[in-house]
């Protein structure tokens, strides 16, 4: 049986819906990890079923809670609005105009305290599972089911080999690797799904590499 019993007896989650509550919280939590900077304002542009049936399933509370780092099995999720007020986080929910995307899609825009903006799009695909499909305009595919490294680098030769060598030296095995770029010689992105989590030291070392622009670690 190629299915864990904890996929059957699980997930442990805040109700009522694995896709509209638990998945929504996880989506926003992973998006905030990718944005990786403090923010004082966040907008959730909702599409399809997230927009239409979200109210009864607490989708908006779940998204807001997730963006603030509250996990999908944490009962503070229900108090997301009060927690946001306490933290001084402003939030808004708008209607997304997206074509050809999953029914449960949200485009999350973080307004960072340093004045920069991050925009991350993803969907909740059922059973609490998610996909991040776009990071700041670059198409991607992140499930966050494994420890994941998201690296933005200059599109020059040798960067990927340096990264994979460093991971191998730490005994971290790469399960899946996806590489993309905006333009030749421009900004490239590498997504690595790993069998082992990445240590802070290794992440810092990668971040310090000359052609690496940004390293983001997703260890749920």
């Amino acid at each position: 049986m190629n299915l864990s019993i904890f996929e059957v007896l699980g997930p442990v989650m805040i109700g009522p819906s694995s896709s509209h509550t638990a998945g929504a919280a996880k989506l926003a939590r992973v998006a905030a990890m990718i944005a990786a900077k403090p923010f004082n304002k966040v907008d959730f542009a909702l599409h399809g079923s997230f927009l239409k049936t979200g109210q009864g399933h607490g989708t908006r509370l779940a998204l807001l809670a997730g963006a603030m780092g509250i996990a999908e099995d944490d009962e503070r999720l229900k108090a997301a609005e009060a927690i946001a007020a306490e933290k001084g986080v402003e939030y808004s929910f708008t209607e997304a105009e997206l074509d050809d995307v999953h029914e449960n899609t949200a485009c999350i825009t973080f307004f960072h305290t340093d004045g920069s903006v991050s925009s991350i799009t993803g969907c909740s695909i059922g059973g609490g599972r998610i996909r991040i499909t776009d990071v700041n305009g670059m198409a991607t595919d992140i499930s966050a089911e494994q420890p994941t490294l998201l690296i933005e680098q200059n599109d020059v030769s040798g960067v990927i080999s340096t990264i994979s060598t460093a991971l191998a030296a730490e005994g971290v095995n790469i399960g899946v690797m996806r590489v993309g770029r905006s333009t030749r010689g421009g900004v490239a992105s590498t997504i690595l799904e790993l069998d082992e989590p990445v240590s802070d030291a290794l992440a810092a070392w990668l971040q310090a590499l000359p052609n690496v622009r940004r390293v983001c670690v997703i260890n749920l």
Partner: protein, 291 residues
Amino acid sequence: MYHSVRDLIDQATQRGVTIGTVVLENEMAFTEKTAEEVRSELRRRYGIMSESIVRALNEPQHMVLELISGQSKKQNDYTAAGNTLCGELLGRIMSRALSACEVNASMGRICAAPTAGSCGIVPAVVSEVARARAVSEEVLMDALLTACGVGAVITRNATVAGAEGGCQAECGTAAAMAGAAAVIMAGGSAEMVDACVAIVLMNCMGLVCDPVAGLVQLPCSYRNASQAVNAVLSADLALAGQNSVISADEAIAAMYKVGRQLPPELRETAAGGIAVTPTGKKLHKELKKMQ
């Protein structure tokens, strides 16, 4: 390695071990965890399930539209008064299944089993049968593993999503899992587990998913209570030695086929069944006004 309920039974019988052992060993091989790691996570999840089935017994939970608020307390009080038709065991099981549904609907913490909408059935049946039979923790764990094995087979060979297979796929699967666990805790044989799973599914074949206003409240909570009872009565039929004639795997395949034959209106879209009764529609309008 197992792919069907029959595999589980044959492997357990041939090796002289429990079905739960076969499931545990598969989990260890598949996830590269030790037996203790698997047991410990199972214990943690059962703890969360156990909390969800008692939380609303004395304290009504609050949710959007309040369709099921206070159901668990009402059933619990009625059962405690000692004058039920179903008897104490079924009364306790029903009030506990209702509790988990209230907790889920009110944005409380639950453990899906196999889904959030059906989260009351497995814990209510397992905890109360364990109590009635005073089983050891080891037997309770073995029963839970057996339930997981049955759930995994249905997930892989059919579906547990209401949107795909209707309520029979969600609450029906939960009842099949719970029934299997009940048979184990009552000391039944592996073959009785097969019969019980088949009988559970025969008893709910075709059950549609028709949530009022699209909320996981009504008829979901009553379906949790009734399918929990289905699990226990099917276990009793199997334990009495009733021949299911149709095997568990055949019943699972039939359930899947029926699920696909259901029109979309009867698969979690809130566009059929109880959801589109005049009252159901009125409640749906009320919810829309709140948005």
